[in-house]
């Protein structure tokens, strides 16, 4: 409801009689914009698959795509709140670099001296420190924006320069490597995945959770005497939920770990290496698990907490929010602190994936993050945006980029295409809103 779901879905039967499809969409209570984004994504995937002769839609490529999307998508969920409240954060790319540097030096140069080399606590302390630092820096930027009333564009443009410079300063420009082995798993290499068994366990848990939520929601609506969806729609929805979860998991599990890598992983774990061929699957990558958890938590925050409600209210009408007793200044601080914390999580994923922290880590990420949020339907005019949209937006962006790289499109042309797609996506969104009046 906050997140601009189509109004009056079930209550008002389709008046325009635009066919069974629209009726089904209404009955199922699916956001049309979500359908549009999924449609765009599928088209992009199919086109690249055709052009590359079937190399795009392979378990291997989809697995890589999911890992490459994770870092930007994590930040994009936070950027939704920032943009919904009519702000912008240009500093996330540089901040990601700075936080990556801090976490890199902490786990490589400081913590081993304190607790001993290779100690189990190193990666945990590193991440806690990184997230704490990210939240603090975000809060500081939010304070200047909220309380001192400097526009977010300026504050975070300053941040873009400040944190990139600060990142250089941490090590004097040197690359930090190698990272703690456990920390590196969070980047999703061959070892940083759930494997087949745990992937299916996660899928089962997610499917159960999804169905349970669906049931609880229906029962609550009925208890209040609200209209509920027809039973066939609920059952169809259940099948879609379970189908998507099972399908995605199956793809990830279908990507086998190469023999040699599998032997290395088993050896590193200290497990017995079997004689014959090893049957090891990648399964869902750990950064993707992190992304899913972040997206879930952020969705709950957006829809089910006062904080989330105030974010959208302030975006819709800042004066009304203020007059309703909402402390919009403190809210701004919290939003940017959250953005900073999420940037730290993204920094963990990005640095762990590369296994090293270089000076250029996160360069231009601010633009990818903003583009992902905007392609995902977040309106720069404020008040409108969804978490799942931002994640899908990040996936669309990454699909375009990987696809073009795979086809062999020149880098300059890649930029041109991505730039045009960004503008086109927003144009389509604006036209859609104008037509539906949403």
């Amino acid at each position: 409801m906050v997140q601009d779901a189509p109004a009056e879905t079930v209550r008002a039967p389709a008046k325009d009689g635009s066919g069974g499809f629209m009726r089904a969409v209404r009955a199922l209570d699916i956001d049309l914009r979500l359908l549009g984004m999924i449609g765009a994504l599928l088209i992009i995937w199919l086109v690249f698959d055709l052009v590359t002769g079937g190399r795009f839609l392979t378990p291997r490529n989809l697995f890589n795509l999911s890992v490459q999307t994770a870092s930007v998508a994590v930040m994009a969920t936070g950027m939704v709140f920032v943009i919904v409240t009519r702000h912008i954060d240009l500093s996330v790319g540089s901040l990601l670099g700075f936080l990556g540097m801090i976490m890199g030096t902490l786990q490589l140069h400081y913590l081993p001296g304190l607790v001993g080399h290779g100690h189990w606590s190193i990666w945990i302390v590193t991440i806690l420190a990184g997230v704490g630092a990210g939240a603090l820096i975000g809060a500081a930027q939010g304070y200047v924006i909220g309380y001192l009333a400097v526009p977010a564009f300026i504050v975070t443009l300053g941040g873009l320069l400040v944190w990139r410079g600060a990142a250089w300063w941490v090590t004097g420009g040197q690359t930090v490597a190698p990272l703690d082995p456990t920390f590196s798993l969070l980047g999703g290499g061959a070892a940083g995945t759930l494997g087949a068994t745990w992937s299916w366990a996660l899928a089962a848990a997610a499917a159960t959770g999804g169905l349970l939520l669906q049931y609880i929601s229906r029962r609550r609506k009925a208890a209040h005497g609200f209209p509920v969806k027809p039973l066939w729609a609920e059952i169809a929805m259940s099948f879609i939920i379970v189908g998507v979860i099972v399908g995605l998991t199956a793809v990830m599990v279908a990507y086998p770990v190469p023999e040699a890598a599998a032997r290395r992983i088993l050896a590193a774990r200290g497990e017995a290496i079997p004689e014959g061929p090893i049957n090891m699957a990648h399964g869902i990558a750990i950064p993707v698990v992190i992304l899913l958890v972040v997206a879930l938590v952020m969705t709950v925050i957006a829809r089910r907490t006062r904080f989330g409600r105030y974010v959208f209210a302030t975006g819709g009408n800042p004066d009304a929010a203020e007059l309703s007793g909402i402390n919009t200044r403190l809210l701004t601080v919290k939003i940017f602190a959250l953005m900073g914390a999420l940037t730290a999580i993204a920094a963990v994923i990005a640095s762990a994936r590369l296994g090293a922290v270089g000076n250029d880590l996160g360069t231009l990420d601010e633009l990818r993050v903003i583009a992902a949020a905007v392609i995902g339907g977040t309106a720069l005019s404020g008040g409108i945006g969804t978490i799942y949209g931002a994640v899908l937006g990040a996936l669309i962006m990454q699909s375009l980029q990987s696809g073009m790289a795979m086809v062999g499109v020149d880098a300059p042309l890649q930029s041109i295409v991505v730039g045009l797609v960004l503008v086109l996506a927003v144009l389509v969104d604006i036209l859609y809103r104008r037509r539906t009046g949403a």
């Binding site: 409801m1 601009d4 609200f226 709950v300 006062r306 819709g316 007059l323 309703s324």
Partner: protein, 272 residues
């Protein structure tokens, strides 16, 4: 809110009893914006069960004065007393603690949210775990809307999609739902049709009967004569005077607004 709201046939509410302690007293309020004296030493008061009209040209300072009471502005000088006790109102949250509710001229609705979210904005109902309870809020909204505006159906739509009258009823519902003792209405009927205006007039009578005090900002002199017990007129940030509606004519009020003079017939009240 009480269940008897809006259900009885309309009889005029009894005349307010002004012998006790006033519900609200704003004493010698000053507020300047960059050298412009928007409110310049104004004193007004309000008793329970009374409707006081605030009149004056655009820019006379009515809305500014009222925003001091609702916590949107902080006065440079002056005091506010609620039930005879000095009140500190520094922001809208403070005002809500004193059971002061405001219907702003702009309605102050978040257009992207639905009616229930707006009605409970800043005061959401939550589940035992602290999450926002949308279903409970929708149920409450359905209840109050059934009384305030029975034609109200679009509970799930963002209020942007509602008509002027429907938006107004959301703003009114928000003000009366939370047991207001003091109600501020800034041009509540400006955007309304005849039928809806009549509904608001009836609502005001009903709220009066329940003992609320109401400040009503309105440009329609005729309406003020009908709905208010007293009227305070402002001009250039200053109070021209406060008169009993029973003692004056429409022309007297117009004279006060335009010329800034209190008619001789209605001796200006002395305020304690």
């Amino acid at each position: 809110m009480t269940d008897e709201l809006f259900l009885q046939p309309q009889t005029p509410a009894p005349a307010p009893d002004r012998s006790g302690t006033p519900l609200v007293e704003m004493r010698d309020i000053h507020l300047s914006f960059g050298g412009v004296k928007a409110v310049d030493g104004v004193t007004i008061n309000l008793w329970p069960g009374e409707v006081v009209g605030l009149l004056g040209h655009n820019g006379a300072g009515k809305s500014t004065l009222i925003k001091v009471l609702s916590g949107a502005y902080r006065a440079d000088a002056g005091q506010i007393f609620i039930n005879g006790e000095k009140a500190t109102i520094q922001n809208p949250r403070d005002a809500r603690r004193y059971h002061i509710e405001t219907i702003y001229q702009t309605l102050a609705l978040a257009d992207n949210l639905d009616a229930a979210s707006n009605l409970f904005l800043g005061r959401e109902l939550t589940t035992p775990l602290g999450f926002v309870d949308d279903d409970a809020m929708e149920a409450e909204t359905r209840k109050i809307m059934a009384r305030l505006n029975p034609n109200f159906r679009k509970l799930k739509a963002p209020v942007k999609a509602l008509s002027g009258g429907q938006r107004q009823s959301v703003a009114i519902a928000r003000a009366v739902y939370f047991n207001a003792k003091i109600l501020i209405m800034d041009e509540p009927t400006a955007a309304l049709g005849v039928q809806e205006t009549k509904m608001v007039a009836e609502l005001i009578q009903e709220l009066k009967r329940q003992g609320l005090g109401i400040f009503l900002i309105d440009h329609d002199i005729h309406q003020v004569m009908e709905m208010c017990d007293r009227a305070s007129v402002m001009k250039n940030g200053q109070l021209v005077g406060t008169v009993d509606i029973a003692d004056v004519t429409e022309d007297d009020l117009l004279g006060m607004i335009i010329l800034g003079k209190t008619p001789e017939r209605a001796a200006p009240e002395t305020v304690q």
